[in-house]
Amino acid sequence: MVVAMAVVSGVESLLKQAVMDVTGHILVMKPVGFDRDDTGMSTKLEKFSNTITGITPFLHIEGLSAHKGVVSGVVLQGVDPSSVGSVLNLRNRVLESTQNAGAEISGFDRFLQASQGSVLVGKELAKKLSLSLDDDITLIIPRATTVHKQGFTRQIGRFKVVGFLDLGKYEFNERYIMMNIQDAQELAKVGKTISGYRLKISDPSKAQDVGFDINRELGHPYWTRDWMEVSRNYFSAVTLEKTVLFIVLLFVVMIASFNVSSALFVHVLRRFSDISLLRTFGMSQKSVARVFSLQGLIVGVFGVASGLLFGLFLTKLVEISTWLYVPAEIYKFDHLPIELRWLDWLLIISASLLLCWVSSLAPARRASRMNPVEGIRYE
């Protein structure tokens, strides 16, 4: 139960972190996109200056990438190098670093320093396109038009790959390319239009409430999405899985607690003579019942303690193991994440102890109802 809950909690945290790192806490958008110099919105957002700790514009474009004869659909994320670091946590998600004049420089810094023409590519996409650092990648953006008879025209650009991204979710890693927002605007021929703003707030758990407040303040046609909403189905599924897993494993603990019950029943029968003697010398039925339910609880405490220690050992084993293969294309992550949460532990401990105690009640009652006369009749 400890391992299962730790893995599910780990998955949940991994997802939350990935979503927050890559999308920010709140997105402010307009259905048709908006001009970067939207002073009206900036003025209204000033009201939230205590809550908002960072703001950065973004441009979201879907297109194609090509390298060495392989083509793949991509999501281009145009970001502003000057402000992206204040909202998104990408520094630790850029894998490779390179040597420059004797000093080690990370791919993220290279990306920030290069004014234009460089991109960061999701690691799964890079694998698919056989990309190496400093390779040139071709990006193709389709644009709807009525001039051509195909109904669209294409914009093509070539960019240098300065780093690879591990964004924590397989679907991010296989599609995302990050580039300077100006490059993205030029490539897509959208002028100064942006898709919206990404906001970082002081307490991400309040993103939904803050998002509502911002939405109310900005009014139509602006709309907001918080980080939970971005992957709501995913988070709901994980929460549901966690609940179901807990209930199923609780049934396993319940079956195990029958052993406590049967062991106590045997113990009660073996101790019939001793119980009778204690009753003879003045121990009440309630006290006898208390002794055996306490015994059940003590067995539970030892069982739970050893179970927790063994579970802890297993979680560490899972955490450090490299042989546990997780297909990333199915599970959206490539290793089993582990997170031990106090709340999970509290839940596991209290539920297990409760079951042990409940399973001791029947034998305890049996012990208290035994006729002492029968127990002292024979040796």
């Binding site: 003579s273 001793d274 003697l277 204690l278 009753r279 003879t280 010398f281 003045g282 121990m283 009440s284 039925q285 309630k286 006290s287 006729n371 002492p372 006369v373 002292i376 009749r377 024979y378 040796e379």
Partner: protein, 234 residues
């Protein structure tokens, strides 16, 4: 016997423990076996009474009913004129713990506890402090000539010693009544005689009342009152 008649009983004045019209019927697979039939019995303060009778006559059953270990099918049991058949388990348990002591044919010592710990047990149930229990238990065991056996396990004691530890255990809470159910039944004649001597010495010394069930005629002759049960009746 109608309920009205039973309710009209009046306990005997001055009796420590009294059974009035006590009947006990054991029912097993629809067959009712009457063991005691309208038994009247009163035990006075500091009195030693012996109950004799053939096996199955109901001696032990009467002792268990008077010792509140079993409930009568009909009739009442009074302690100092108070009807104790109405008491609940908690009251009866407390009563047994403080006012009564039991010695059985088999010593029934807890094998995981030493002689001293076995004697301390009823005191601990009574809520006496560990120090008090230990001091009283040591004093009793010394009185019974077992000061050198305090830390011995029951298995390492002789039959006579085991029974003396059982007597010490029965007396630690200074009971008003000591019930002895064939206390010498499992001992050889030498140890049986020694135990009889000991019981009467303690009776004189401690001033409790003694109700004994035995088959031993010689032992019975030492009692001031001997009653014989035949087919559930005196």
């Amino acid at each position: 016997m109608s309920e009205e008649t039973v309710e009209s009983y009046q306990p005997t004045l001055g009796a420590l423990l009294e059974a009035r019209n006590v009947s006990k019927v054991y029912t097993s697979t629809d067959v009712a076996v009457p063991v005691l039939k309208d038994v009247d019995f009163a035990l006075q303060i500091n009195e030693a009474v012996c109950i004799m009778g053939r096996s199955g006559a109901g001696k032990s059953t009467l002792l268990h009913i008077l010792g509140t270990l079993d409930a009568p099918t009909e009739g009442k049991v009074y302690y100092k004129e108070e009807d104790i058949t109405k008491w609940d388990d908690t009251q009866l348990s407390r009563f047994r713990n403080v006012k009564m002591g039991f010695v059985f044919q088999f010593h029934h010592l807890l094998s995981e506890f030493t002689a001293l710990e076995n004697v301390m047990l009823p005191g601990q149930i009574a809520g006496l402090s560990l120090e008090t229990c230990e001091s009283k238990a040591k004093s009793l065991l010394s009185e019974l000539g077992l000061s050198h056996r305090l830390s011995h396990w029951p298995a390492h004691l002789s039959g006579g010693e085991q029974q003396r530890v059982a007597i010490a255990r029965a007396l630690i809470c200074e009971p008003e009544v000591l019930f002895a159910d064939e206390p010498t039944g499992n001992l050889d004649s030498k140890n049986a005689l020694a135990l009889q001597e000991l019981l009467f010495e303690l009776l004189e010394d401690k001033g409790f009342s003694l109700l004994t069930v035995t088959h031993d005629q010689a032992f019975a002759k030492r009692f001031t009152r001997v009653l014989t049960l035949r087919d559930g009746r005196f």
